[in-house]
């Protein structure tokens, strides 16, 4: 493990809760519906994080608890059954229904596991009903995906076959590209989790080797391991270096000859480095401060420092799983300041004191920092954009150089017309 300085901070936090991951999960699996059992706040949160609603009927919704549910005038389980039946009657195309726990449902202890079991027997295989928690008292932002995937693991069929499993939601185009590369490298069977259809779950067993595409799948990884799979140790596939090491973790474990792997990857790497160059010029030497939110902060910081030459002031992370991050931490320089948890006010004091060139932060903080003259990048963009893999490295760098470029454009000296 590298010599990063690991610090902890507690206090008021400014992060999304796990419900937010529904925003991309429901797009990944178009035959699934995410039903939050919660309050008007939950409904308002998801619609605000998702931005404008452009579809007629989304595949997520909230069963809003009302006074009578809390006062015990209505039986919460009967009410939930009613809501689920109405919903599934209206949306017959839904194959998997996730009951998603929220802060209020956790606090009043509505047993969603029991509800899922009961509803499963009622729907008799026509629809699979699962449950997980996306509550803010237990999860931050991307941990919601971890919960949803963990709930799917027991349903994965068993298989002894040797295969590679990519775990974690990727943009479809990026996923296709990564699969093509692994095929070229000679890996025969490659599957993705979550699948594009909730009913087409990949198989799992002792022959399965898992590459995590995202750094927030702690519980899912453990469950996959319990099903006999091996979790490959690698940094995450962000940037050229991270992606190369990530790919090689798989090829090594499949016993594929290194020189063959190099011969396939070499041209991709050369091309990617070429594409990266103009962005490195813009980013190199610039000071970066990452506030905690998506859990992607450490891999992003590693890419921006090692490959793009940015100076790391502080890496905030909602929580730190040292085992999961071990390979990432190894690549970071000594004395990198990593802060787990948050005291948002103190952290912003440090941002102001250090005057970074770029801050990666949540949507609530971006404009206030911009108004103070500090360029920002939304961390939520990283979970929506195709950024994984060698070929995407320059696109990833571009995301960070754009705000710097813009600030340069807007702060040019006015051109004097009377030039003589």
């Amino acid at each position: 493990m590298g010599g990063a300085t690991l610090l902890k901070e507690t206090g008021p936090r400014e992060v999304f809760c796990g419900l937010t991951s529904i925003v991309w999960l429901h797009r990944r699996m178009p035959d699934a519906f995410f039903l939050v059992v919660g309050s008007r706040t939950c409904a308002h949160l998801i619609q605000s994080a998702a931005g404008v609603m452009i579809f007629a009927e989304p595949r997520f919704g909230t069963a809003i608890l009302e006074e009578r549910d809390l006062a015990g005038l209505a039986d919460a389980h009967e009410e939930l059954d009613r809501v689920v039946k109405n919903l599934l009657a209206r949306r017959p195309e839904i194959r998997t229904l996730f009951l998603v726990g929220s802060c209020p449902s956790e606090v009043i202890k509505i047993d969603l596991a029991r509800a899922a079991e009961r509803l499963n027997s009622q729907f008799n295989g026509k629809v699979t009903i699962l449950n997980y928690s996306g509550s803010g008292i237990e999860t931050t932002f991307t941990q919601g995906e971890d919960g949803a995937l963990k709930a799917l693991v027991p349903l994965m069929p068993k298989s002894e076959e040797n295969q590679l499993l990519l775990a974690g939601t990727l943009a479809n185009a990026v996923e296709d590209r990564l699969i093509t590369i692994f095929q070229r490298l000679g890996i025969g069977k490659i599957q993705s989790f979550p699948p594009r259809q909730s009913t087409e779950l990949p198989s799992i067993g002792p022959g399965t080797k898992v590459l995590l595409t995202q750094p927030y799948l702690t519980d899912t990884a453990r469950e996959l391991q319990n099903r006999g799979a091996e979790i490959l140790k690698a940094p995450f596939p962000l940037g050229v270096q991270g992606s190369e090491l990530w790919i090689k973790a798989a090829t090594d474990s499949f016993g594929i000859d290194r020189s063959f792997v190099d011969s396939i990857l070499e041209p991709l790497i050369i091309r990617a480095r070429k594409a990266l160059k103009p962005y490195i010029e813009q980013l190199s030497g610039k000071k970066l401060f990452l506030l905690p939110e998506s859990q992607l902060e450490i891999p992003l910081a590693r890419f921006l420092h090692v490959e793009c030459g940015m100076e790391l002031l502080e890496i905030g992370t909602p929580y730190l799983n040292r085992e999961m991050m071990a390979q990432e931490l190894d690549l970071l320089p000594e004395s990198t300041r990593i802060v787990e948890g948050q005291h948002v006010e103190k952290q912003l004091d440090r941002v102001r004191a250090h005057q970074p060139d770029l801050v990666v932060c949540g949507m609530g903080l971006a404009n206030p920092l911009e108004a103070e003259g500090i360029s920002t990048k939304w961390s939520i963009e990283m979970v929506f954009s195709p950024i994984h893999g060698i070929d995407q490295a320059s696109d990833l760098a571009e995301l960070f150089s754009r705000p710097l470029h813009r600030s340069k454009l807007l702060n040019r000296e006015p051109i004097s017309i009377a030039s003589n």
Partner: protein
Amino acid sequence: MELTLWTYEGPPHVGAMRIASSMEGVHYVLHAPQGDTYADLLFTMIERRGQRPPVTYTTFQARDLGGDTAELVKGHIQEAVERFQPKTLLVGESCTAELIQDQPGSLAKGMGLNIPVVSLELPAYSKKENWGAAETFYQLVRELLKETKAQEYKPGKWKEEGRRPKVNLLGPSLLGFRCRDDVLEIQKILAEHGIDVNVIAPLGASPEDLLRLVNADANVCLYPEIAESTCLWLERNFGIPFTSIVPIGIGATKDFLEELHQILLMDKLDANNEINQSRLPWYSKSVDSNYLTGKRVFIFGDGTHVLSAARIADEELGFQVVGIGTYSREMARKVRTYSKTIGLEALITNDYLEVEEAIKESAPELVLGTQMERHSAKRLGIPCAVISTPMHVQDVPARYSPQMGWEGANVIFDDWVHPLMMGLEEHLIGMFRHDFEFTDGHQSHLGQLGGHVKQQEAKSSTTIKDSENNLNENSVCWTSEGESELLKIPFFVREKVKRNTEKYAREVGCKEINGEVLLDAKAHFKA
């Protein structure tokens, strides 16, 4: 339990945040779990605010619940007061904290802070955002004025004191619809009538300003959703009267000015001489507005804006209101009463799908609604203008664009008529698409949804299906001649005509619809 896919209003604590963020020197400690901080982005993204809302979230976690959450709350309150030095502190809880019953308000009051502390109880499981905003504003005013002695209110006191009359403008807040500009417009108009503004609140007001509320000769209740409860309380306790008319539209602005003059015991005003300050009356009278006559309009939004819009549509633009409704339960009675006068049943709902159905059913040519109706209207291929919150970032324009007063009427004329112009253009495109000069790529803002598919596409889409899709003995089908006649009907009423024709055909037992049946049906439903 109520299934909600999308909600017009947030929870009540978001309303409290709107009041805190609108004001200066107020801080809000909100006992809430992590994740509830999403509400900040409403202000920094939709309103594009350059400051964070003055809110400290306690962001408690599951592991805190076993311990002493009350100490946690007190710690956050202490820290917030030291760091932000507010002049007044609001303390409340979000939905989850309401369940664990820490009573942060009482905790704060027991801490011996040397600033006023307002404890907010906003029931998250029965109330919503606008109610929360109104209640917060009311509790804040009450707390700050609790030591202020009620003097006997004398109408026309300003005359005795030899000064100009002064009023408070109450209700404008962040995340309200065009409040920033409404306030400027109303101030300008009042100045022209020699009326001074005493306090504007909550937008831009400090706690000290609220202490001065009682010096006003009248309150102008700009947004009843937010300010009516406060106005009523000020009237009850300090005798200060308030206006009942919201000055949106020509008629309403005129009535508002006359009402205010009367309340203030000023000389009777005939505001008829003033309406020419707005171009709306003349633009509406001008000959090219003839095509606006009887345009079918559907209106949905908060109570205040819906009622104002209906009056403008009906009295000032000569539209025909074909559907009306609101998500504001608190305003339901007023909207119901009004809709009866124009022969309609008001739709009171928080379900946007129900609103979309109602739009479809009434086949309007223009939808006036919230950002959600804009999406629904886009899907249905109907022009739309946004008149009410909830709104999106594009409804917070950079330019001056009030809804109230004379300039507000100008803005409304443009905002409502421009989408219709494009609707007309859409129709013209449909009419001229057979001309050889016509370019295939020519589309108006409605894109493919405008209802004018290219002729080949229309043909190749085979026969138009029975819209009820019944394949039983009741099903009807369209002949190709019937289809082409149907395609000649303007797109915005085509669906309705189609449905009616099919209904007629079924009633008379006709299986095949040709051009004649279409005309028969038209006559039948007109009769």
